[in-house]
Symmetry: C2
Subunit: 475 residues, 2 copies
C-alpha cells in the first residue's frame, strides 16, 4: 500500500512552478525542518482527538505500513486508553500521549514537541481552526475533519495561515470519495450530463440519538436525553451548536461533491448564498416524548429542523443544500446532478440521459455506476471494504497521506476547505437577517474565478484528473 | 352524477354568515341576475379557449348530465371547429360560438350576451386576469385555468374584483386532486406526519417539445423549432414567456398541494419568498441541435433552465418549489411532505413514519395510499379514469361545478388563486434583484393569518374537511 496510486502528473519542476503560483510559498521548509515538496516513504502522524470519529481514522492509520502513529492527544482518558488499546492490538509502537491529565493545552505540547509530519484533527468543531492554525505554524501538515472553523473570520484565519506558512492542509471530507459520487464526477467530466445546471446535496440524517444520549460511554447513541456536560461523545459538545445556532451547520458532505463537479475555485465560484430555516421542534419533541419531566424538556433549541440553502455559481449553476438532522427520517444526502443532457438522483438510485434512456423513463443507476466506476475503487475497493462509512474513510485518509508523501497538492485544499465550510456562518447570517441573500466571499481573491454567468463551464479545456481534480497550475 | 358528493357541511344560515365574514359580499345577485347562494340542478357553462387544454375540459363537461355547454369562444377556427365536432359527437345541442372570425373581442360579446352560470377560461396566461375580471363583473362564475394573472397588480385586481362582485371564482388547479396528493392531505389532517416542517413540490416537466414545434396543427408537440406566430398551440404564446421572463412561471401544481397541507390562508400564510435561477441553455441547445441554421438558433431566452424558489410560512414551515421545463428529464412534480413524525416523497414512491416504519428504512407508499385513499376517489375513480392527467381533470371540474350548483364556497378560492399564482411575479422580482428575498404580500389583509412563527399548526382545533378544506367561517 506504500505505492502511490496516483500517476505522477506533475514532474518535480512543474509542481514547484505550479504551486508557487498558488500561494507564493507552496514549497517551504516548515518549522519542523520538513520540506513539503519532498517525496517520503513513511509518515510520522499525530492525532488530536481520539473520540468516536478519531478512532475510525486511527484504525485506518494503523492498517497502513507507511504510517507511524507517533503521538495521540485527547482530554478524555477513556478514549485515549481505547486508542492505545487499538495501537497495541495492531502490534505497533506505543505513541506519546497528551491530555491524559485532561490538560486542555496538551495538543499545543504535542505540536511543540516536534517529530510530526502530519496531524489528524478530529476534535469538536470549535477547536478545528485554532488547532489547524497552530499546526501549520509548527510546519505540521493538517488533515482536518470537517468543518474548517466556526465564524467567517476563522475561515479567513485558517486560509491566511496556510498561505503564509505553505504547510499542506486538507479537509477530510469523505463523501467526495463515495463510490457513486466519484463515478458521477467521472460522468460529469466525460460530459454525460452536458453543461451542468443544478445540483443538490445535503445532510439529511436523524441525529437525535447523537445529539442526545444517556451520558454512558458504553452507549454513545440514544438511550437518554442528556447533552452538554452530562452527555457523552457528540452530545457533550455538538448539541450546543443546535442550542445556539440556526443555519446549515454541516454543509461539506453535500457541497463537497457538488463543488467538485462544478469546478468551484477551479474556474468557477459561489456568488450568492441564501438560507431558509424552519421552526425548531424535533429535538424538543424527542426529549418530551422520552422524559417529559427532565430539565432538558425545558431546553430551547435555535437550530431550525430543516435548513434550506441555495447557492448561485458564477458559471450559471445553482446548488441546493438541505440540512435536516433533528427529525425522524432515513439517512439520505439527497444528491442530484443535472445538466443540459440529463440528471442523476441518489434518492431513487436513478439516472436519465437524453438519447440513451427511454423517453420519460428513469434508468437504474447501477449499470452507469459499473461503467464509470472509479479506477481507485476498482483497485482499492477491497481495502476500503472494512473502513468507515462504506469505505469512504479509507479513501479520504489515503488521499491525504499519498499527497503528503508525494509532495503533491492536497486534493481537497485550503480553498475548498474554507469555501465549503464558510457556508455555515454565511447561512447563519442569512437566517438571522430574515432569510436574506448574501454575496459569497471570494477566498481566492479572483484568482480562480474568471468565468462569468452564462459562459460554458464544462466545455472549457482542462485536464481531466485521474482522482479528484487538483488545483491547476494556472489558477 | 348530478348528486353532490359533498356532505352538506354548511346549513344555509351558517353559509351565509360565514361567507359574509369573508368578503362582505359573498352572496350577491350578479349582473346576470343569478343568486350564487342558490342550489341549482343544472348549469349553463361557456368556454373561453378551446385549444388543447380547453378541449380536455370540454370533454369533461360533455360527459356530464348536469351541464349545458351553451357558448364557446376561440379565435382559432380550427380549434373552435374541433370543439363543435366534440359537442356534436356527444349528441348535445349546438352552442353559440364566438371568435370564429378571429375577433379578439369575441369573449366580451359572449359574456355580454348573458345566459351563463359559469365560464371556463383556458386561454393564454396573459388573458386570464382580464377575462376573469370581466366575467365576474358580468356575474358569471369563473373556473380559471392556472395562472390567475401575470403581474402582481393583476393578482390584486382579480382579488378585488371577486371581493367587490362576490362572483364565485375557482382556480382549476388539478394536481390538488391527484390521488396520492389527496391521500397525503388526509394523512396530514390525521396527524401522520406530526407537525409539518418542510414541503416540496414543483413543475419538473420537459416542455421543449411543447414550447417548440413545427407549427403544424396536426402535430402540436415537437417536430420543429418554431415558436411565436409560426408555432402552433402553446408554442405560439407560451414560449414568449421563456423569452421575456425569468422566475417560476408555473408554480400552482407544486404549491397547491403544499399550501393546502400547510393551511395557507386558513390560519397560516407565506411570509417570505426567494428565487434563484440558473443560466438559460436548454431551449437554445434544443434548437441548435435540430436546426443550427434556423433563425431561432439565434433567439435568446431569459428563463433560467431551473428556478429554485423557497417560501417561509408564518407557522414555521418552509416550502421549496422547483421549476424545470427546458431540460431533458422524466416528468416529476417532486413532492415531499415532512413533519415531526416522518415524511413522504413521491420521486421514490416512499414514506417513513416514526414508530411504524422500520428504522432507517423507507416504506413503499402503496399501502398508505390504499389506507388513506380519498372517499371521492373511491367513489368516482372509475368516472375519472378516462379524464385528463390521470383523472385529476375530472375532479377539479367536478369540484367547481358541484360548489357552483350547491352555492358552496369554492374549494380553491380567490385567496388561494392569487396567493399561489403571485409566486410568479414575486419570483421574477427576486431573480431580477440578484436572488434577493422579498416579503410576501398578505392578500387576506391579516384576516387568515394570525399564527406566528414557532406556533403549532396542525394541533389547532379545526374541522377536518371531507374534501379540500374550505375557508373556515371565522377567517
Amino acid at each position: 500500500m506504500s505505492t502511490s496510486p496516483f500517476s505522477n502528473r506533475f514532474n518535480r519542476r512543474d509542481f514547484l512552478v505550479g504551486s508557487a503560483r498558488v500561494a507564493g510559498a507552496a514549497l517551504v521548509t516548515g518549522a519542523a525542518g520538513q520540506a513539503f515538496g519532498a517525496v517520503r516513504e513513511r509518515l510520522r502522524i499525530g492525532m488530536i482527538g481520539t473520540g468516536m470519529r478519531g478512532q475510525v481514522h486511527l484504525r485506518e492509520l494503523l492498517r497502513r505500513d507507511d504510517v507511524d502513529v507517533v503521538a495521540l492527544c485527547d482530554v478524555e482518558p477513556i478514549m485515549l486508553d481505547k486508542a492505545l488499546e487499538k495501537v497495541a492490538k495492531a502490534g505497533k509502537p506505543v505513541p506519546r500521549t497528551y491530555g491524559a491529565d485532561r490538560d486542555p493545552d496538551g495538543w499545543r505540547a504535542m505540536l511543540a514537541a516536534g517529530g510530526l509530519d502530519g496531524v489528524i484533527i478530529a476534535t469538536p468543531w470549535e477547536w478545528h481552526a485554532p488547532m489547524a492554525i497552530e499546526a501549520m505554524r509548527a510546519g505540521v501538515a493538517v488533515g482536518c475533519e470537517v468543518v474548517a472553523g466556526i465564524t467567517l473570520q476563522d475561515h479567513w484565519d485558517v486560509l491566511n495561515t496556510q498561505l503564509s506558512t505553505g504547510t499542506p492542509y486538507m479537509l477530510l471530507e469523505n463523501v467526495c470519495y463515495r463510490r457513486d459520487v466519484l463515478a458521477v464526477l467521472r460522468m460529469v467530466r466525460a460530459g454525460v450530463f452536458g453543461e451542468l445546471a443544478h445540483l443538490q446535496g445535503g445532510y439529511q440524517h436523524d441525529l437525535r440519538g447523537v445529539k442526545l444520549n444517556g451520558g454512558d460511554p458504553a452507549h454513545p447513541y440514544g438511550g437518554g436525553v442528556e447533552f452538554g456536560p452530562k452527555g457523552w461523545s457528540e452530545a457533550r459538545w455538538r448539541t450546543e451548536h443546535s442550542v445556539r445556532r440556526d443555519g446549515d451547520l454541516y454543509p461539506s458532505h453535500g457541497i463537497g461533491p457538488c463543488a467538485m463537479a462544478t469546478n468551484i475555485n477551479r474556474g468557477n465560484r459561489f456568488t450568492r448564498i441564501n438560507s431558509f430555516s424552519t421552526a425548531a421542534r424535533g429535538l424538543h419533541d424527542y426529549i418530551v416524548k422520552q422524559a417529559p419531566d427532565h430539565p432538558n424538556a425545558k431546553a430551547t433549541f435555535k437550530l431550525g429542523d430543516i435548513v434550506t440553502t441555495t447557492l448561485a455559481c458564477a458559471n450559471g449553476e445553482t446548488i441546493l443544500l438541505q440540512h435536516d438532522t433533528s427529525l425522524p427520517r432515513p439517512y439520505s444526502l439527497g444528491f442530484r446532478v443535472q445538466g443540459t443532457k440529463g440528471l442523476w438522483m441518489d434518492v431513487n438510485h436513478s439516472i436519465y440521459v437524453e438519447g440513451v434512456s427511454k423517453p420519460e423513463q428513469w434508468d437504474d443507476f447501477k449499470q452507469w455506476q459499473d461503467k464509470y466506476d472509479h479506477p481507485l475503487w476498482r483497485r482499492f475497493g477491497e481495502d476500503a471494504a472494512g473502513a468507515g462509512h462504506g469505505g469512504m474513510d479509507f479513501f479520504v485518509m489515503h488521499a491525504f497521506l499519498e499527497a503528503l508523501k508525494n509532495g503533491e497538492p492536497m486534493p481537497i485544499d485550503i480553498y475548498d476547505a474554507v469555501t465549503w465550510s464558510a457556508i455555515t456562518p454565511l447561512s447563519e447570517q442569512s437566517v438571522a437577517q430574515g432569510f436574506q441573500t448574501l454575496d459569497f466571499p471570494d477566498f481566492t481573491n479572483g484568482a480562480c474565478a474568471r468565468a462569468s454567468r452564462g459562459s460554458r463551464s464544462t466545455t472549457a479545456t482542462r485536464r481531466l484528473p485521474l482522482f479528484l481534480p487538483v488545483r491547476l497550475p494556472n489558477c
